[in-house]
């Protein structure tokens, strides 16, 4: 293999690695966006379902 071919192969591999990384980031972002959307929609549509964590007066204990 010539040096030029070798460099091209290296560049191609690097591009593929970068593309794989970008696809992974996009996949992660889609997953996170879906989770975030569900969280927000749940709280928008279920006001009765809010999780409230209170600290009690005097005892200093937490409601949880």
């Amino acid at each position: 293999m010539t040096d030029t071919n070798h460099e091209q192969l290296e560049r191609t591999l690097e591009l593929e690695r970068n593309l794989k990384y970008v696809r992974q980031v996009r996949h992660d972002m889609d997953r996170i966006a879906t989770a975030l959307e569900r969280y927000i929609e749940w709280h928008r549509d279920h006001p009765e379902a809010v999780a409230v964590f209170k600290m009690f007066l005097h005892s200093g204990e937490d409601e949880v």
Binding site: A33, L36, Y39, H46, A49, V52, V64
Partner: protein, 300 residues
């Protein structure tokens, strides 16, 4: 523990901002992008954040209305009765500032993470409570402070409420629970709370275990060893009961509580300090580091 991991926090904050605004924020804009995203997403409430630091406020009509609507606060008392009188405000403002300063003294990195993720500390009076956090108002801490708290207790209460906030952030980007709140509240899902020592819904106890573990860390690095010791036994019991119900947690939720369990067993505060600074990687395996070091205490 994930909620003390600077890299996880930055990544999660970045994710919420990017998912909302469809672009990645430059580092100096990250806080603003995150808090504005929270304000945009939680359209039912109001976070009065400001760009140069945590806003300490004495009125928030939007939040008050939402707290009452969601029955987090009682419905019979007029909103104005919950506001601190003006002659108390300067002293209470100073108390909260000193509380934040006391956190900086113990861990500057912890204070920075709180600053990154909290937009507003809202002070208001509500009978029977010293403060609280709501899953529908991420980015906001409500406190009902008394001057007698002093800086240290104020700092502890801010950290306490901040951990709830971080668990909501964790739940936002990767759900912690495998069933909805009805399933989590079912009698069969109850476990023993680490703090109240009685049976409580699963998510309440999950939060209590994480908060208690965070306070063990805070007390230990503050030198309050007895306070830290007192939390260990009940929290380990709660964690075990939580882990006995794996069907109620996602993998993400199970991993987080395993991190809590691992910390309670090792009390490796050096590792937590490294996580806070961003100079360590989270040990997701649950195994102890090869050569644990630093503040390590025997179980009470």
């Amino acid at each position: 523990m994930r909620f003390l991991d600077r890299l996880w926090a930055l990544d999660s904050v970045d994710s919420v901002a990017a998912a909302t605004w469809h672009e990645f924020a430059a580092a100096p804009q990250l806080r603003a992008q995150y808090l504005s995203a929270l304000s945009h997403l939680q359209s039912w409430t109001t976070i009065q954040w400001k760009p140069d630091g945590i806003a300490i406020t004495f009125d928030n009509p939007g939040a008050i209305a939402d707290f009452i609507r969601r029955e987090a606060w009682g419905q019979n008392r007029p909103a104005r009765d919950r506001l601190f009188p003006s002659h108390q405000r300067a002293e209470l403002y100073e108390l909260i500032s000193n509380g934040l300063e006391s956190i900086s003294t113990v861990s500057h990195d912890l204070r920075e993470l709180i600053e990154l993720t909290i937009g507003e500390i809202f002070l208001a009076q509500e009978g029977g409570s010293e403060g609280g956090t709501m899953s529908s108002a991420v980015g906001l801490i409500w406190l009902n402070p008394r001057i007698e708290w002093g800086a240290r207790k104020t700092g502890e209460n801010i950290v306490h409420e901040w951990i709830h906030n971080m668990l909501f952030l964790a739940d936002m980007v990767s759900p912690l629970f495998a069933v909805d709140y009805i399933g989590l509240s079912a009698e069969s899902a109850h476990v023993t709370s680490a703090i109240l020592h009685r049976k409580r819904p699963f998510d309440r106890c999950y939060h209590s275990a994480a908060v208690a573990a965070g306070l063990v860390f805070l007390h230990t690095i503050s030198g309050d060893i007895q306070e830290a010791d007192a939390l260990i036994g009940p929290t380990i019991r709660t964690v075990r009961e939580l882990q006995d119900k794996p069907e109620l947690m996602t993998q993400s939720g199970a991993d987080l509580i395993q991190d809590v369990a691992h910390f309670l067993e090792t009390r490796d505060c050096d590792h937590m300090v490294a996580l806070l600074s961003g100079n360590a990687t989270a040990d997701l395996s649950g195994n102890a580091p090869a050569e644990p070091s630093g503040v390590r205490l025997e179980l009470a």
